[in-house]
């Protein structure tokens, strides 16, 4: 078994267009959620979200690229450029042949579906642009990253709703750990903030109209976000040999399936994933200092997640910190675990714990240290990142300070 480390990170989300901007915003407890701006937003009952602002794709990508890149691909490529530049890795020869890209997304090119359905159904057009399919397909982003960076090894896209990124990163981790690939580009992205995307979510009646307040007794639902988080996972000796900066180690993971309900989470499924990640990473529960919670701000998630943490950690549950950064960047659905991994890196590398903002009222069912409203300085050696998806599919990553 090889050791796996993260040597590059990149992101774009409602809090910033880079890792540095995002971490600064998290440390300041800034909220990136605001009024949504897009066509027909006035017909939605939910009009807030963590929208990426000031991202000018037109200047970044040429006309041919624009005709092929849905917004979720644009986000992915922007974040990948940052991650790969930081890593300093160049994929050529044997390294290129063995290294690949595994990404998560729940919806893929949602706005491409939306725009083209509008065109044929609402506008009655009978002709669509020839690249609708290659633009909207869920693997488009992974494919463009592979083409841009010459990644010729195992590459594919994982789609497990809100756990997509964690499943993708777990898979990439496993490939590097087993020696199958010396490095993998991994993470995820999502861009559902368009009329059809938000309208579909409205139907479930789980969305908040005013704010995302995870673990707070007065919470009233989730808020969607958008963006991408991309990382370079690399074999430890490979990274050391080329003198790469190491952000942290990926120590282990676990996946589990509730096998109970298509939307309601299960404490048992979540607990099995958390305990499984600890066991895979050969960690004692007492070593965990921080958990980046799934923390969606829905009653169903927050209560179940806290109960699962209490079950797995016993008395140590009261000593560790657990926060949900969704309160700041919103729920990036298939990209969420990737952006949230940044909070784990910040905890391990910088000793800064991102807060759960919007926290107003204690909930006896969530009686853990949720790092309310203000970031905290703390030395943390081990962090977990939780993701529990619709469909009961869970993936938890364990990370360690290097």
């Amino acid at each position: 078994m090889k050791r796996v480390v993260i040597t590059g990170a990149g992101t774009i989300n409602a809090l910033g267009h880079s890792v540095a901007e995002t971490m600064t915003a998290m440390a300041e407890g800034r909220c990136g959620i605001g009024p949504l701006v897009f066509r027909d937003v006035e017909r939605l009952s939910i009009q807030i979200g963590g929208q990426v602002r000031g991202f000018e794709a037109d200047g970044r990508y040429n006309r041919q690229q624009m005709s092929l890149y849905d917004r979720f691909t644009q986000f992915t490529l922007a974040a990948a450029a940052e991650a790969i530049a930081q890593s300093g890795i160049t994929f050529s020869g044997e390294l290129a042949a063995k290294s690949g890209v595994v990404l998560g997304t729940a919806g893929g090119g949602v706005s491409t579906w939306d725009d083209n359905y509008r065109s044929v159904y609402e506008d009655g057009k009978n002709r669509v642009h020839p690249f609708v399919v290659p633009k909207l397909m869920n693997n488009a982003a992974a494919s463009h990253v592979s083409m841009e960076y010459n990644l010729k090894g195992p590459s594919f896209t994982v789609s497990t709703a809100c756990a997509s990124s964690n499943h993708a990163m777990a898979q990439a981790f496993q490939m590097v750990r087993t020696g199958m690939a010396p490095a993998m580009v991994t993470g995820g992205s999502e861009s559902m903030l368009c009329f059809g995307g938000v309208k579909a979510w409205e139907g479930l009646r789980v969305m908040s109209k005013d704010a995302c307040r995870p673990f707070s007794a007065n919470r009233n639902g989730m808020v969607q976000g958008e963006g991408a988080g991309i990382f370079v996972f690399e074999e430890y000796e490979h990274a050391r040999a080329r003198g790469a900066e190491i952000l942290c180690e990926v120590a282990g993971f676990a996946m589990s399936s509730d096998a109970t309900d298509i939307v309601m989470p299960s404490k048992n499924g979540a607990a099995r994933a958390i305990a499984g990640a600890l066991s895979d990473a050969r960690l004692n529960p007492e070593e965990v200092g921080y958990i980046n919670a799934h923390g969606t701000g829905t009653a169903a998630n927050d209560k179940t997640e806290c109960a699962a943490v209490a079950d797995v950690f016993g008395p140590h549950a009261d000593k560790l910190m657990i926060s949900s950064t969704k309160s700041m960047h919103g729920h990036l659905i298939g990209g969420t675990g990737a952006v949230e991994l940044l909070a784990c890196i910040m905890a391990l590398r910088d000793g800064v714990i991102a807060p759960t903002i919007g926290y107003e009222e204690a909930d006896p069912d969530c009686a853990l240290d949720v790092v309310p409203n203000e970031a905290r300085d703390a030395k943390v050696n081990v962090a977990l990142s939780n993701a529990f998806a619709f469909g009961g599919m869970n993936a938890v990553l364990a990370l360690r300070k290097v």
Binding site: R63, Q64, R127, H129, P130, F131
Partner: protein
Amino acid sequence: MSVTDKIFEIIAEQAVLETSDVTLESTLEDLGIDSLGLVESIFAIEEEFDITVPFNANEPTNSDFDISSVSKIIEGVERLLKEQAG
């Protein structure tokens, strides 16, 4: 603008060239238009002239629409405009 001018414009845009770089004799290959650029050009022509171009990307040379040069494309479009008028 004439059909010829419009087609020069569409093809030049696809090829990322000036319209002055496009000649009647140019082939799409000369202009560096690949298979994706070709289907995009056909789409742009259909949109511009509101016609349906009988083009099958599986068998580009066997389609009922000659794409062997810019002048052939113009001829084809003019024929389709007559056939599909009204």
